[in-house]
């Protein structure tokens, strides 16, 4: 499904009717996510952060879906969806502090970069093993239904996750219990190096939903309004006790899997270049230029604002000390048992790796 046509105009039969302000807000959020990604990739290359997993080229699939959900709906992320969290108003400084694992990192340096979460923004926690979050999303949806709450859950995962046992278990449970959940499958072409055509023998990922009797849609994931429309339809189905929906968002990961990846090994420059022409930002910009006075100057100004913001956050993050060492021993259980009290005291009173670094 496409809503934004190649010339930037909207297909009137599919136009979801967003206001100019809403469309501009989507565009600005997508640009901001891209600028943040770009800056984080640069500082990772300089060795200032350990790792980053970006969303270059997938901004429409991520932010379009987040925007179509209501504030009270839950987002269950894979690991590439920080744009959705920022869309919901998560402070950029907090995200950058997390990327540095510093004293203000909400995770207190316990996890690799890009493992965000926020109860206030109804955004569950990122876990690296693939597919594990999908049954959690179904459980949250089942709980919401049992508690009589008007909420649904959007769970993100990639094409590779459709091979995981958690995916199949979750799809089956969702259908059996008619859980108000949206399966948001970002088919970005690759699971690290493996192309989608070799991930599965099915022609599409959406057709897998039929086996569970879950309604499915296949959407141009680079068309933010098509994403918005499909996700809103699924959310309305969920709200009307219609159960789960599977949405295949066809997109392309323009960057590497993460900063640790080199995609030149497994795909051609021509292929990537052909997808660059389908960049979701270009398509949306063409549309808003038709509806507003948006132009190169305004675009450059907005990018500069975003870059200044992230640079300032980075500057502050780098000034902050690491978290307290004792924090390493917290939150294992609701109350700290004797063995962790004992080990914490041993660690705090014992030799430190940082002592040796100081000597060398």
């Amino acid at each position: 499904m496409h809503v934004i046509r190649d010339d930037g105009s909207l297909d009137p039969t599919l136009d979801p009717g967003l206001s100019v302000d809403q469309v501009v807000a989507l565009y600005k959020a997508m640009v901001r996510t891209r600028v943040v990604d770009d800056r984080l990739e640069k500082i990772q290359r300089q060795g200032r952060i350990a790792f980053h997993v970006g969303s270059l080229g997938e901004e429409a699939a991520i932010i379009g879906a987040a925007a179509a959900l209501r504030d009270r709906d839950w987002i269950v992320p894979c690991y590439r969806e920080v744009g959705a969290l920022l869309w919901r108003g998560y402070p950029l400084q907090q995200y950058i502090d997390h990327m540095y694992g510093n004293a203000d990192d909400p995770l207190r340096g316990r996890q690799m970069p890009d493992h965000t979460f926020s109860r206030a923004h109804r955004y569950l926690s990122v876990s690296a093993p693939i597919g594990t979050q999908i049954p959690h999303a179904v459980g949250v949806a089942m709980a919401a239904k049992k508690r009589g709450l008007d909420e649904c859950v959007g769970v993100f995962f990639g094409d590779g996750a459709t091979s995981s046992n958690d995916f199949h278990a979750a799809m089956n449970f969702a259908a059996v219990y008619e859980a108000p959940v949206l399966f948001l499958c970002r088919n970005n072409g690759y699971a690290i190096s493996l192309p989608t055509q070799r991930q599965t023998a099915t022609r599409t990922l959406a057709e897998k939903a039929a086996a569970y009797r879950i309604p499915a849609a296949r959407i141009d994931g680079n068309d933010v309004l098509a994403v918005w429309r499909a996700v809103r339809e699924g959310a309305e189905r969920a709200a009307n006790q219609g159960g789960p929906t599977f949405i295949e968002l066809i997109t392309y990961r323009l960057g590497g899997h993460s900063t640790s990846d080199d995609p030149r090994v497994y795909r051609s420059q021509e292929e990537t270049d052909s997808w660059r022409k389908l960049d979701p930002l270009l398509r949306l910009r063409k549309h808003i230029e038709q509806r507003t006075a948006w132009n190169d100057d305004l675009d450059g100004d907005w990018r500069a604002v975003c870059d200044a913001e992230v640079k300032e956050c980075v500057r502050r993050a780098e000034e902050k000390p690491p978290p307290e060492l004792g924090d390493m021993f917290g939150d294992v259980y609701a109350e700290q048992p004797w063995h962790l009290r004992e080990q914490q005291a041993q660690c705090l009173g014992g030799p430190r790796a940082s002592d040796e670094e100081d000597e060398s």
Partner: protein, 324 residues
């Protein structure tokens, strides 16, 4: 008070939890209409409805993964894994997800769920209906592991586990599901987690056991008493977090320890227990610590009574330790 076996006491505990707290629900394979393959949940779906006692599709990943989601959103799921041997398809959900959710969200989210599962051998179950995988979960930071031996403790510990804010593995000794009967209060009550119980005071050897093997340890202790060896038997009840003080004070008195468990010896929980005792009571030890355990083989069928650390193997271990 009603005379109950373990199955009845656990059923009574689950009924109490469902009555007391509307956020509690049960999930598992065949637990509703059938009442579970061991009938532990018999009658509960009829009483509380299919919305609170869920017959789930056949997927341990699905049961445990969706239970985590429910626990994250205000419910207290009590799941049943039909046999502990079947827990491995859901192992990742327990070890990487349930156990770590609190830590990886700095306490913003947590997973108050219980995983009940019958464990252990002696029922002619072969290698896939007999295993004791407790050590795998004890080594996972973030999980609590409970293993009652009798009906009173089973009900009280279960109710405490359901109230607990952390994920709890609740291993049920199926070999003695119906073999032990006790007077159990009909109303809900709790037994605190993390407290072992001295079930037979003694002066010469400390014998630590849990679950079904507690009875073998006790029988062996009575047997060696006839030969003049006085054994103190400790029922751990909660395996982790451990009541290390009760064990260490006992060994400070006796100077000797024998640990009994069904799981294979290598990297079994017995190794950790004797290490803790060696670290804390080394100068009080009068004999090398001894482990009487399952062998390091898959669990067998025909010779299961030679595999299990039954009284016939515990008796000589106690005698040799006492006479060392």
């Amino acid at each position: 008070m009603t005379r109950m076996n373990l199955v009845q006491a656990i059923n009574s505990g689950l009924r109490g939890a469902l009555q007391q707290d509307e956020t509690v629900l049960l999930m598992g394979e065949d637990i509703g209409q059938l009442g579970g393959v061991f009938r532990v949940t018999q009658g509960l779906q009829e009483e509380f409805g299919a919305d609170r006692v869920l017959d789930t599709p056949l997927s341990e990943t699905g049961i445990l993964g969706t239970a985590i989601g429910m626990a994250l959103h205000g419910l207290r799921p009590v799941t049943e894994i039909q046999f502990a041997d079947f827990i491995y398809p859901g192992f990742d959900q327990l070890v990487s997800e349930a156990a770590k959710y609190r830590y990886r969200t700095a306490g913003e989210f947590h997973v108050p769920m219980v995983v009940r599962t019958p464990y252990g051998g002696g029922i002619r179950g072969g290698q896939y209906h007999s295993q004791s995988p407790e050590a795998l979960f004890i080594q996972t930071p973030g999980l609590k592991v409970v293993c009652p031996s009798n009906p009173y403790d089973a009900k009280g510990l279960l109710l405490e586990a359901i109230r607990d804010e952390d994920p709890v593995l609740f291993f049920e000794p199926k070999r003695v599901y119906r073999a032990v009967k006790m007077d159990v209060p009909d109303a809900p009550y709790t037994v605190p987690l993390g407290e072992a119980k001295i079930v037979r005071p003694g002066e010469q050897v400390t014998c630590v056991a849990w679950g079904a093997m507690l009875y073998e340890a006790f029988t062996a202790a009575e047997e060696v008493a006839k030969r003049g060896v006085d054994v103190e038997v400790i029922d751990l009840r909660t395996l982790w977090p451990l009541d290390v003080d009760t064990i260490v004070s006992s060994v400070e008195k006796t100077g000797r320890i024998v640990v009994v468990h069904e799981a294979p010896r290598t990297c079994g929980f017995g190794g950790e227990l004797v290490a803790l005792v060696a670290e804390r009571a080394f100068l009080r030890l009068e004999a090398p610590p001894v482990r009487v355990t399952g062998w390091d083989t898959p669990f067998p069928l025909t010779h299961e009574h030679e595999y299990l650390p039954l009284a016939h193997r515990i008796v000589p271990a106690l005698l040799e330790t006492a006479r060392y």
